[in-house]
């Protein structure tokens, strides 16, 4: 399966968050490893895009776009809120 990194989803993240998120920091909810979104492992394609922690492989978040609507489930990543 094609394996990319968070740079590849920068455009979709701007659609959702309204700004560049590749430099946003967060911590893996499973192992606690801190990283920037650009550093996470991204598996595109399939019905949705799966984003995993590079250290432990835990699913950080999943997003699915259907008919112009993007649903994002940030279940495994504590995203630092930046103003």
């Amino acid at each position: 399966m094609e394996e990319l990194d968070g740079n590849a989803i920068a455009g979709q993240l701007v659609e959702v968050f309204g700004r560049d998120m590749t430099r946003a920091h967060g911590a893996c909810a499973h192992c606690g490893t801190e990283s920037q979104l650009a550093e996470l492992v991204v598996y595109p394609g399939g019905p949705g895009t799966v984003v995993r922690c590079r250290a432990c492989g835990n699913v950080a978040f999943v997003f699915v776009t259907v008919r112009q609507t993007t649903c994002i489930d940030v279940a495994g990543f504590a995203l630092d809120v930046i103003s």
């Binding site: 990194d5 701007v14 560049d20 590749t22």
Partner: protein
Amino acid sequence: MARAALSGRLSWQFGRVVELVEETARTKSLVLETPARQGHRAGQHVDVRLTAPDGYQAQRSYSIASGPEDEHLVLTVERLVDGEVSPYLVDELRPGDELELRGPIGGYFVWEAALVGPVLMVAGGSGVVPFRAMLRHGAALGSDVPMRLLYSSRALSDVIYGEELMRLAEREPVEVHLTLTREWPDDWAGPRGRIDGPLLDQVAWPPPQRPLIYICGPSGFVEAASQTLVQRGHDPSRIRTERFGPSGQ
């Protein structure tokens, strides 16, 4: 434009193909004219979207090959064997055609002259594309930041921007090192084989000089290069990586 700037949202826009430049047998540069030309930062990419007559859409990201100061936006695209988007861009697109684009995008894999430290750029195959933007940006500014490019390519015939890179390397602070991994001419005096520890030791500044390191290429290439650099004492926080799909280096 004001609306786009206010909301921070990206909008799709059409760029017109001004020129197509054959870089290698598999790679072409698309020179594009875009209506509202936003300045980009060296290293950023754009998303390209193709729409089939039945409405099916496919979207890919491509690094920007032009410098921020250049007149046109340039994307360099490598044709992937089983690609959905790249064969169209490399083989079918013609001057005058329009292409749907969104961007510029990304704030992580970006170089600006104000960043501290000498810059090491490590490229695998078409991973060299964002580094052309960075080198052109440095040249346009007359920047004295030392920049070294270590570029891994399968063969001389696969080298993208070969002549231009040699010209860019004529500037005092710039060095370009090319390693060939599969084929080389009989008289090839440069490095042969994949990028490894000894080659990185030879080309990179030692870790105490804290070079800012950018690595771009296929996933396996980026992983190997970044791990080797960290093992040799480079600070992971000084390493920025960008991976793309299957390709050779």
